[in-house]
């Protein structure tokens, strides 16, 4: 085989270029701490990576939805507890009062009713908690001519998206909690909606002021039902809460797993890359040494 100096030079140039490209790649990986710096670095990896990123971002959003919903549930729970305790106070007044206290108790009942009205119509970040989807309207309006406090919301519950196609519903129907359908306003009306806690308290106040002990006792059952319904709503909320909590914990674990897989695909192993860079630089130096030894001498150097 004939070997010319140009062949040697070309071969060494080609190898130097290749070695330089390798060094550059390692340098970029070290600088960005990422294994994938262009799509073509790892076509399979980039596809996995996009999948992981989408999953992480979506799971992050689910967790944010859940965090948001949990704080709503906590707020609703606290409100319901206060309501239950006020209703309980009203029940105690109705069951234990003595005629000489009736006047003061009537005033207390009015206070309780006003406080209840405030609580039932309370807002969470600008939305009424117990109006269903009509979050811009207070749940119960002022007293009407027939003594009813009309419900102004609807029967919808608050929906939280906790996963793909999976939702948790949080009770927001005030009518369901604060109205006793078995205590009619007008027993003769088949479409009678039942009595709200507010009307019951109005009735109680009236009975107290009139000193009508039988009428006072009569309100007891309805108020008791409302208290039960309030406690039931609380219980449903805590079920919702634990479902939210469980889902969030699951997403968190899942996120961690995916994050690990993402790092595996995307993040450069710095120690290993640094080692590789060292090796590549050594190879490069060796190549330069070879080039220095091989290229210059020819017969010219030995002819005098």
């Amino acid at each position: 085989m004939r070997v010319t100096t140009k062949m040697m030079a070309d071969t060494i140039k080609a190898h130097l270029a290749r070695q330089n490209a390798n060094i550059l790649k390692s340098e970029i990986q070290l600088a960005t701490t990422k294994k994938i710096n262009k799509l073509s670095d790892d076509p399979k990896g980039i596809t996995q990576l996009l999948g992981y990123r989408t999953a992480l971002s979506t799971l992050g959003q689910y967790q944010q939805n859940i965090t948001n919903a949990k704080s709503r549930v906590e707020y609703t729970s606290t409100t319901l507890e206060q309501i239950a305790s006020l209703v309980n106070d009203a029940k105690n007044i109705a069951s234990r009062g003595t005629p000489d206290e009736y006047a003061i108790m009537a005033d207390q009942v009015v206070d309780i009713r006003d406080q209840l009205m405030d609580l039932v119509n309370s807002q969470y970040s600008g939305s009424y908690l117990f109006s269903g989807n009509k979050t811009d309207t207070p749940a119960f309006g002022p007293v009407a001519a027939n003594g009813d406090y009309p419900y102004q919301g609807d029967a919808a519950s608050y929906q939280v998206m906790v996963g793909s196609g999976s939702k948790v519903s949080i009770i927001a129907d005030g009518d369901e909690i604060f109205r006793d359908v078995d205590t009619p306003i007008d027993p003769d009306d088949p479409n009678d909606p039942g009595t709200t806690i507010f009307q019951m308290l109005d009735d109680l106040e009236e009975a107290l002021r009139a000193g009508d002990e039988a009428a006072i006792r009569e309100t007891l059952e309805g108020i008791g039902t409302i208290e039960k319904q309030t406690r039931l709503a609380s219980a449903r909320l805590s079920v919702s809460y634990s479902r939210l909590d469980d889902t969030q914990a699951r997403w968190k674990t899942f996120s961690n797993v995916i994050e690990e897989m993402r790092a595996d695909v995307e993040d450069a192993d710095l120690a290993q890359t640094a080692l590789e860079l060292q090796l590549q630089q050594n190879n490069y130096n060796i190549l330069l040494q070879v080039a220095a030894n091989v290229i210059p001498p020819s017969l010219v150097d030995f002819l005098r």
Binding site: M7, D10, P43, G51
Partner: protein, 463 residues
């Protein structure tokens, strides 16, 4: 008769021949690093013998008028073919690398994140359907999604335009080279017809032919008179024949808005040969423009349309803050024109059909769920994410494939040029040995003259 003058003459032929040989060696050494140079060699020949008085006398040395090129014709044909492949992958790789950059997925700010953020914004809206902030955020994310589609689409379009410009330039280069080859044909035939060697012109023509092959796939053969004929392998359109060359031209196609490549006959009729180009850079640009990048752009368009339709269909069933039913959410006909059709945040239909506002969030949830819904995109039924990931994967694989093909081709090119160097390259050692050899022979011939001179002196002194 072996006269003393005869010896002087023999010495003279030796001097001339060795001097010529040293001259050729000098040319070889001077061109040791010239690309495409083929080393030359003088061939010596014994001078015709003279028969006189029953004795044969030599008359010295002759050199062939034709200085030999040390050259392997078949190897050069292979180099020419390899240049065509290398040219093709060069232009493919150049366009693909640009494409890879505009997708920008490695930084995490590509279409993938724009889509995820868009779906997340719908979820965020479902958390607080009446919230002005959530609504404004959703509009912002929707605009970002539309703009990302627009930018990707115009980026791809720009790459196609760049390729188109390159096609025009490449055709101009091709024409310059074919004209030069026709010119060289004429020179070579002119010189060689007189028995001289046209080595320099042949070297030049070989190099031009290889350059041409890098630009466009060609087939070529050499005629007996030394002229070379070059034509397109498909359709047999001639580019060079004898001393004539045919120019290609580019003509803007009004429907595609890109340039077609045309071959113009002697009488001026233009034939479109875009699809007949078989290899070389020109084919690389054409494929990138019409197939590779167009394929990505088509996919992107299909995806934009699928997302537009899916979101619009659901949005129309929803209820906006003013209790009206939802309007068109996205407008536009493809990825380049996709835009958000809503500018009033109250018109976002977050509530489901028949759901009360402002608390209803069913429609926002429905639209957010589209993220995992299988849409009909082009001929596929896949989620938008999967479709896009497959597209990115295709781009990445195409780039990697082009890179591999390119480095494979340059490996082959290096190998072939190594082979060529092995045969045709100038080895300094060889040339130095030749030089020493020729110089010694020259010195010896000169010594011969001195000897003959001394012989003549002796003879004269005798008288």
């Amino acid at each position: 008769m072996a006269s003393i003058n005869g010896i002087l003459n023999t010495a003279r032929t030796g001097l001339i021949a060795q001097q010529r040989a040293i001259d050729v060696t000098a040319v070889n050494i001077a061109n040791a690093n010239t690309d495409g140079y083929t080393r030359q060699r003088v061939s010596f020949q014994t001078g015709a013998s003279v028969y006189s008085s029953g004795i044969t006398f030599g008359t010295g040395v002759q050199i062939n008028r034709n200085v030999e090129r040390v050259y392997d014709e078949f190897l050069d044909a292979r180099i020419t073919a390899a240049r065509a492949d290398a040219g093709y992958w060069d232009s493919q790789l150049e366009t693909l690398k640009k494409t890879e950059m505009i997708f920008g997925e490695t930084t995490g700010y590509g279409l993938n994140s724009a889509m995820t953020d868009f779906w997340n914004a719908w979820q965020e809206l479902s958390n607080n359907p009446s919230g002005y902030v959530e609504r404004a955020m959703l509009l912002g994310e929707s605009q970002r999604l539309a703009e990302t589609f627009n930018n990707l689409s115009s980026g791809l379009k720009q790459i196609q335009k760049d390729s188109d410009t390159n096609i025009v330039h490449t055709v101009a280069d091709i024409n310059a080279i074919t004209a030069e080859i026709a010119d060289l044909n004429e020179k070579i035939v002119g010189i060689e017809v007189s028995g001289q060697s046209a080595n320099t012109f042949r070297d030049q023509r070989d190099r031009r032919l290889q350059e041409l092959s890098g630009l466009i796939g060609i087939s070529s053969f050499e005629a007996a008179n030394g002229s070379i004929t070059v034509s397109l392998p498909n359709g047999g359109y001639s580019l060079v024949e004898g001393f004539n060359s045919w120019a290609l031209q580019t003509e803007r196609n009004p429907t595609t808005e890109y340039h077609d490549v045309q071959w113009v006959s002697r009488n001026g009729t233009a034939t479109t040969v875009t699809d007949l180009i078989s290899n070389g850079q020109l084919k690389g640009w054409i494929d990138a423009r019409d197939t590779t990048i167009q394929g990505y752009a088509d996919d992107l368009d299909a995806m934009a349309v699928a997302i537009r339709d899916a979101v619009n269909n659901r949005h129309r069933t929803g209820t906006d803050l003013d209790s009206g039913s939802g309007n068109v959410f996205f407008s536009g006909t493809d990825a380049s024109t996709l835009a958000v059709a809503i500018d009033d945040v109250r018109k976002i239909a977050a509530a489901g059909p028949g759901e009360a506002v402002p608390g209803g969030s069913q429609n926002a949830i429905n639209i957010a769920n589209l993220q995992n819904a299988r849409l009909s995109i082009g001929t596929n039924t896949v989620t938008a994410n999967d479709f896009y990931n497959a597209l990115v994967n295709r781009v990445a694989n195409d780039v990697l494939g082009a890179e591999n093909s390119r480095s494979y081709q340059s490996g082959i090119a290096l190998q072939l040029s190594s082979y060529r160097e092995e045969i045709s390259g100038v080895s300094m050692d060889d040339e130095m040995i030749d030089l020493v050899q020729f110089q010694n022979a020259y010195n010896a011939s000169a010594k011969m003259v001195t000897v003959v001179d001394e012989m003549l002196q002796t003879l004269i002194n005798m008288v």
